[in-house]
């Protein structure tokens, strides 16, 4: 008898603190069996994650260019360390950088647009989504042929 054991996948799960993070955590059953590393912008979430590693990076919006640069480097160094097979993000700005950089590391990338964006895709979703291997919206009305696709919601 031959058993083929597939190596468990390395997932990098990244989201800004607040609503994006709450939604990311609701995806955890899908991560079972994989090695997950989390990345977020608020210190103090780690206690909810059990043994999983969690990096805290700088939070920055598009008006804080220096902050964004710091965030970019922090994400780059995390990717060098972790080298994930899969990168999953619910946004916002950290997800944009991670998704684009993740491609350099040959990760398969998934962008899940926030359930808060009921009438239009988020700005960061419009930037990052087209580059994701799977671009999802949580509102069926926003589904398009070329993406984003609707596959359900966090709620």
């Amino acid at each position: 008898m031959v058993f083929i054991l597939s190596k468990s996948k390395k997932i990098l799960a990244i989201a800004s603190g607040g609503g994006h993070w709450v939604q990311l955590l609701r995806l955890r059953p899908a991560f079972e069996g994989s090695q997950v590393t989390y990345v977020t912008t608020i210190d103090g979430y780690q206690s909810a994650l059990g043994d999983a590693k969690c990096f805290v990076i700088k939070d920055a919006s598009r008006w804080d260019k220096l902050g964004l640069l710091i965030m970019l480097f922090q994400i780059f160094f995390i990717l060098i360390q972790i080298r994930p097979d899969v990168l999953i993000t619910t946004g916002a700005a950290p997800g944009v950088f991670a998704l684009r950089l993740g491609k350099l590391f040959r990760a398969k990338t998934l962008w899940l647009d926030s359930i808060a964006n009921a009438e239009d895709i988020s700005l960061s979703g419009k930037i990052a989504g087209p580059h994701a291997d799977l671009w999802l919206t949580q509102w069926q009305e926003l589904e398009k042929e070329e993406g984003p696709f609707y596959k359900g919601r966090v709620l």
Partner: protein, 158 residues
């Protein structure tokens, strides 16, 4: 105890001022997380920021939550089974860079346990019936099976 939160990013002084005024006559203790605001509320205990642990403690102790229409606040209230009053930030008041909270609020109008105030007037009305707000009967701690399946397949196929 009534717990008020404006989220982790921006101020929402319109909400804080309305609640502060009402809190003068409230029989409940009111505690507010006000964000990076210069306001100094007079009728409630307040802090600009809370750690995730402090935030969870206040949510657990609260009888009712009052918040901006942010998904973090809404999902947290549902997960902890607390009635929540939400007031959306409006772009026209400079409270956010777009009106997605207004869109979010519209989607939650008929959801059990989520009490939507579209403006200050509706907020004041809801505050007057704060003793009898319905609560969400419970929500799974996780995403819909459809979404979890799609993501599981995505991970497995990579």
């Amino acid at each position: 105890m009534i717990f008020v939160t404006v989220g982790t990013q921006l101020t929402f002084d319109r909400l804080i001022n309305t609640i502060d005024q009402w809190a003068a006559t409230s029989s409940d203790e009111v505690i507010a997380q006000i964000g990076p605001s210069d306001l100094k509320p007079k009728n409630m205990l307040w802090q600009q920021f809370l750690s995730p642990t402090e935030f969870s403690e206040y949510i657990e102790k609260a009888r009712v939550i009052i918040a901006h229409a942010g998904m973090g606040s809404i999902l947290t209230a549902m997960q902890f089974k607390k009635p929540i009053i939400i007031l959306p930030r409006r772009e026209k008041f400079g409270e956010h860079r777009n009106d997605h909270q207004f869109a979010t609020a519209k989607q939650f109008i008929n959801v059990e346990g989520i009490h939507v105030a579209m403006d200050d007037g509706e907020l004041v009305s809801l505050l007057q019936s704060i003793q009898s707000l319905t609560v969400c009967s419970g929500v799974s701690p996780y995403a819909s099976p459809e979404l979890l399946t799609a993501i599981t397949c995505f991970i497995e196929e990579s």
